[in-house]
Symmetry: D2
Subunit: 256 residues, 4 copies
């Protein structure tokens, strides 16, 4: 029985502020990307999130970002690769400690927002992220965007990589995420999303604009929970994937 | 030959802002309390500070604080013991990761500013700090204020404790730090500071207002570097202690 | 025809973060308390909020707070009365400029959260808030909690005051807001809220626990929009007040 | 007797953090650019700064910036022109209120750091700054970099402009500030600085690399106080300018 992971962002709040529906997502995904305090997340939310994920049997990763609470990590803050490297190490360490505090364990790292976008095509920034992970703990897996510079950087750094595709996003002919400024960049239709994901899983390839199939390992599918519609789509997608014979399982489960 | 540690706060800057004279202190102390981003410190400054301390043979600890950059951690931010516990775990993890990144290793934890003051006499807050340390890594040492609730809390938590006295501070009859609102709370006279410290080291006791000697283990002496006068005082104190036959040595050196 | 004002908090977001339902509230209230960047609010949200309020014919006031984004202004940040005074002046000036920028005009000031709670009973803090308003613009009205120290402070400062009651809050025998730790502090039952408000409007008095009626001017009723239930309650309350013969009108409309 | 203004940045601290030597500069300059809380400055420091400037007879302006405390406003934070416009209005309003509170009056606005650099050559950003000033108070003067887009934008907006040159900076052949990455961008030699400034004042022109003199109105000279050397240079420059027959006087004194 083939296996696939579903991942989503969790713990996206800080202090009195909240986004997303953590409770719903914990029943859908096998891996949770937990915000580490730079774009969202605070020690309390992180600790609660790790404890709930542990109880739900969901693996947890550090979702590292530019320091940008106001912009939710979606803005490119001017930082050198070395500054990025250290910012990633800082967030990862904080997440490791709070996961341990909550009885869980960080097993992977994923870049968020503008940092992920830059690292998709900028090798220097992709290397900075990968180097930070290796420096803190080389046994961690990096959850990388399939076909991107992140993938190459993880390999250069000697890191284990899990390749993710996005359930509701269109891909350019080069296999990059279509920019959100494009009208068709985000796919709203649930059945179309299901159809595309199953095709990508079956073929082991990203479905690019124009119809080309770009071969890649696929270890995880990224889903969202920031709207009721998103939760519904993730639920439907999980059911469809399971019906089609896949087992939903974390790519990096904590060792017992 | 008896041994004693000298500790000081390092890495007290963030972004473009700076306090203190790290370069001078690294030649004086055997242990450095490194700010973790909540009252001061950012990933770059922390990484540089850990690298320099490693090179200087100085042990490093996480200097944990209330989240209060503007107030430099000197204000009591309203937080529950549980929120404090998680904030300490977060900072400690971040410091561990960046120390590791820089080739060094966190071997102790010290509370800063208002958090230290509250934990001096409030058992609940002292316990929160100690519990956080245990949860993240029970092999760490806590650098505690001698004769305070911090000492009791470390013991309750099963933590190894190093007891510190303050070179330039007066103590109440109960052995607490005299509040800064008192005229005599901070001792400016270098020779008086030297004389008092040597008396405390020799007797193994805190010298309280009124002259009483309150017996306590003494593992470390806290000095400052935030003014040229403070650096001069620390330099003079180190020389006097060494002349009197003590060996300046970290209480928690990293294992090789 | 008697007149009464309805006020609610608006613009409670910052950057990518949002609370409350501004669009719904703008159809219900006659005055909006707009967050100024310290507990919520940023220049964009403030400008949009002022422009929408202008279009809806809703008066706007500066909703001033402790600097505490994470805690949403609900925590007492340790600050001297002078520091509070200057923080209020800063926020008020920023709000005046952005209201002017958006074609509207700040006509009143209201304290938010922990600052409002402290100023309810602490004369020094109440005076600090009132002094700041007078220093910036003595022609502004202060929206004060009826029967509180805020009322006395506004009078001492020579400020015009508008007295507000809370639609869904119980009052102690002394006429203070019952602390939220009390089970009965917040009234959830819509019809009970309507009944109480109409009784207070009719008698010109606050209805205290135990049944006493404490006479006070009543110029405004505070309603909420942070949940669908709250919006529904505010809508129902407005309809009931209008049916009972009151005209809903801002206590401090901008001069044309 | 010809007149010229000397301007410098003041109030560059926040909370417990400090840069620069305000006390020294207040005896040297005729105009102070006061940080408004976005790159530096807090309500207390601003109020104190305005009160001291009033006492010293120094005019005050709002020194507006990107929101970037950590980067001291020297980083280009990704913001649209409209977001910049509103951020400038916010800061200006806050400064106006606190100046008024302290018995002084904002008479001009100057862009700081990365915002100033962008507005030197980007017309859209220059227009955003100028529009914000006009929207808040069209009677204010904008202190603009001579020969830059800031100058054109102030004119387009109908704002009164004061043109500044930089005492210690080299200019490209186009009359722009030489980028700091150039070795010769910042001139350290005091006598050379004095000679250049006097030449620029005498000829009414910016002295460009290669020796060309680019004609421009010159209303103010920007000096610094962030190092002892900078204070010494500013002192020497003022003496030389006065000896050469210029009267040091604010370009925008508050009306009595």
């Amino acid at each position: 029985m083939p296996v696939i992971d579903l991942n989503a962002d969790l713990g996206e709040g800080f202090g009195a502020w909240r986004m997303g529906d953590d409770a719903a997502l914990l029943h859908i995904v096998s891996s949770a990307n937990v915000a580490c305090g730079f774009h969202a997340g605070d020690p309390d939310i992180m600790a609660q999130c790790f404890a709930r994920a542990k109880q739900a049997g969901v693996s947890v990763g550090a979702h590292v970002s530019f320091p940008d609470l106001a912009g939710f990590g979606r803005r490119s803050i001017p930082m050198s690769p070395q500054e990025i490297e250290r910012a990633v190490a800082y967030q990862l360490g904080a997440a490791q400690a709070l996961a341990h505090y909550a009885g869980h364990k960080i097993t992977f790292v994923k870049a968020h927002g503008a940092l992920a976008n830059l690292a998709e095509s900028d090798a220097q920034i992709a290397d900075a992220v990968a180097r930070a992970i290796v420096a803190v703990d080389p046994s961690l897996t990096q959850l990388v965007i399939a076909l991107s510079e992140q993938t190459c950087a993880a390999e250069r750094a000697g890191l284990s990589a899990a390749h993710e595709i996005f359930a509701d996003r269109a891909y350019t002919q080069e296999g990059l995420l279509a920019p959100r400024s494009q009208k068709e960049a985000v796919i709203q239709d649930v059945e179309l999303v299901v159809e595309r994901v199953l095709k990508m899983l079956t073929t082991g390839a990203v479905l690019a604009q124009g119809g080309a199939l770009l071969l890649t390992p696929i270890d995880s599918i990224c889903v969202h929970g920031d709207t009721p519609h998103a939760v519904e789509m993730a639920t439907r997608l999980r059911a469809a994937i399971e019906s089609a014979g896949w087992d939903i399982r974390a790519f990096a489960p904590p060792a017992d």
